[in-house]
């Protein structure tokens, strides 16, 4: 079976069934601050939360939070063990969107290098979680105003990289199987599924077309000349200083970004030994490139923001063959300086064209 229809109620039963022997996270609406429109993940306890929100755009939290923890002890020494003793609980993540799956391609290359890239170092902590996590992705049924996936080569619906994908249609979802892992999530669930009708398929295509058009429409004003994998953002210091004017270097964009992979190792003594903890890091902080003795290859904020944006387009392209900005818009959502990355890229490219 490649795809099936699952009614809204039956999906809830299916999710509850998954939660019997796995951790399951689903997107729900939180009525706090101004975030009514942006769902975020909540664990399923006994039944599916009332505020389940499977429509709209991507949840605030990105899959990296589940696969590459913001903070994790990676070694205890002296006398550290040669093998990483890791065994993450089996987890089902319902709700990542196409932009999130695109970002996982970079995660796979960086942290599961022997399988997805040409380098030799495999990260046991990531691979363990990745292998034990089931990704149940969703088509976007609407775009938030900061979404721009179609500007960077993406689509607002997943085409690959998922175990199961859900496409909202009248009364429920088309569930598409993307992997043997996904297939296993549906084992024994035949009673909850029904055949997909031609009408369902038409509705899915209509929805996909209309969201794609909405994303295109709202980004028409951000004219970025040429395809994103051809960007050359090397520009004058003045052009980057102008973009950085409202940046305070807080690094919220790094943390909200689904494809930022950088980390810092922090060593601390404990009562009995010493612990090495891996924490997410931000390339916008002044200490990021600092070396012993105080040298710093990127001492100014404009240099650091330039590095961040060029990393997403040029450096990732040259190293991994990927544009790693996935157009999810989260960096815009969280920026307290209201820097819009689309506008930043547009203005740098425009300045270059003039020069």
């Amino acid at each position: 079976m490649n795809e099936a229809f699952v009614g809204r109620e039956n999906l809830a039963r299916l999710i509850e069934r998954w939660s019997k022997d796995r951790r399951v996270f689903v997107p729900v609406t939180f009525d706090i601050m101004n975030h009514e429109e942006t769902p975020d993940y909540e664990a399923v306890r006994d039944s599916v939360p009332e505020k389940l929100k499977l429509h709209g755009a991507a949840p605030a939290t990105t899959p990296k939070s589940f696969l590459f923890y913001a903070r994790e002890v990676v070694a205890t020494y002296p006398g550290a063990k040669a093998d990483a003793a890791v065994e993450a609980p089996p987890t089902v993540l319902v709700g990542p969107r196409a932009c999130d799956l695109a970002a996982l391609r970079k995660y796979d290359k960086v942290y599961w290098s022997t399988k997805h890239f040409t380098e030799e170092y495999d990260d046991p902590f990531y691979i363990d979680k990745r292998e034990r996590t089931f990704i149940v992705s969703l088509d976007c049924s609407a775009a938030k105003e900061t979404c721009f996936c179609t500007k960077v080569g993406g689509r607002p619906y997943p085409e690959n990289g998922f175990d199961l994908n859900l496409s909202p249609v009248e009364g429920g979802f088309i569930v598409t199987v993307g992997s043997p892992k996904g297939e296993s999530l549906l084992a024994g669930a035949d009673g909850l599924l029904a055949p997909v009708s031609a009408g369902h398929r038409e509705e899915r295509e209509r929805n996909r077309r209309s969201v794609t058009e909405a994303v295109n429409r709202q980004n028409a004003k951000f004219e970025m000349d040429g395809p994103p994998d051809k960007y050359d953002l090397e520009a004058s210091a003045e052009a980057w200083a102008a973009v950085t004017q409202n940046c305070v270097g807080c690094g919220a964009c790094n943390r909200a970004c689904p494809s930022c992979t950088c980390f810092l190792l922090v060593d601390q003594p404990t009562k009995t030994a010493n612990e090495r903890t891996r924490v997410w890091d931000t390339c916008l902080s002044v200490g990021y490139a600092r070396t012993g003795g105080g040298g710093n290859s990127r001492p100014t904020l404009p240099q650091r923001l330039e590095n961040r944006l060029r990393c997403k387009f040029e450096y990732s392209r040259d190293r991994y063959g990927l544009v790693t900005c996935t157009g999810c818009g989260r960096c815009i959502d969280v920026c307290m300086g209201r820097i819009d990355m689309r506008e930043a890229i547009r203005s740098v490219l425009t300045e270059k064209a003039k020069a």
């Binding site: 990483a84 950088c262 810092l264 990021y288 990393c311």
Partner: protein, 270 residues
């Protein structure tokens, strides 16, 4: 699966003060840890943190390794409080080693500044092991003052090796100094080398790399044969954490030594 972040235990076997701020430590790793000239290791001072160092000892010595370290920050300051017999952590080796075979039959120029001679020492000792293979080895070394010169006991021995010369300079006149005075580039005025084939290995503070690079290129040195030890924050050593990124390069994986040709596209690579 192998834990990439695990330091193996290493015991401090010997400590030698080179200058007031620079010390050479010899470590005996409790598990095998060997390296090639040009590669580096991550040294953990328990509880204080980890920092990258290129060993200064001969890579052909397999059971111990030495690192010559200047006190500049928290990790190096914490290391100074440790004694013979204490345990540190070691990870590695990381980065690319030199392809020594490719230098056979060629002239070799080694340019060091301050503690920058330390990583070059592992290269020098590896070259000495097969000294007949190389046409000439010229070591040019600059320090701030006579007191800041490292390996004071070794330099005269090196100068006596076959086809080898050692030239020294200090930055400013000093009552105890009879030799050349001036920054390292004064030792590069006279370079009777075949610039098209000779290899230059440069290590020192970033400002020194910058001016040595300019000087050698001016003289017509082939940028593919100028090897710079890049000063970057190589934290994980695995090409993952991002701190040493330089454009699409991870200095810890693609380096730590990059050629003048590789860094030419950067406005100010040092």
């Amino acid at each position: 699966m192998k834990n990439l972040y695990r330091p193996i235990d290493g015991v401090i076997e010997h400590i030698k003060k080179e200058t007031p701020a620079i010390t050479t430590y010899r470590f005996r790793p409790k598990e095998p840890l060997t390296f090639e000239a040009g590669q580096f290791v991550e040294l953990t001072v328990p509880g204080a943190g980890e920092a990258p160092f290129t060993p200064s000892s001969n890579p052909n010595v397999k059971d111990t390794l030495e690192v010559t370290i200047m006190r500049v920050g928290t990790v190096t300051a914490a290391l100074e409080t440790m004694k013979v017999g204490d345990t540190v952590g070691l990870r590695g080796p990381y980065g690319k080693g030199y392809d020594l075979k490719s230098f056979a039959g060629k002239e070799i120029l080694i340019v060091g500044g301050g503690v920058g001679l330390a990583p070059l020492r592992s290269l020098i000792l590896a070259l000495f092991d097969e000294i007949d293979k190389y046409k000439k080895i010229s070591i040019r070394y600059g320090a701030r003052t006579p007191d800041d010169i490292v390996y004071k006991d070794l330099l005269p021995q090196w100068a006596k090796m076959k086809n080898t010369e050692v030239q020294l300079t200090i930055d400013a006149p000093h009552p105890d100094w009879k030799g050349t005075v001036g920054v390292i580039t004064v030792l590069l005025e006279n370079t009777p080398f075949d610039m098209k084939t000779a290899a230059a290995f440069v290590c020192g503070p970033p400002i020194m790399l910058k001016f040595v690079n300019i000087k050698l290129l001016e003289k017509g040195w082939d940028p593919n044969h100028i090897y710079h030890s890049m000063e970057r924050n190589m934290s994980c050593g695995l090409g993952k954490c991002g701190h040493c990124m330089m454009g699409e390069y991870y200095v810890c994986k693609d380096g730590p030594v990059l050629t003048a040709a590789q860094v030419a596209k950067f406005e100010d690579p040092f």
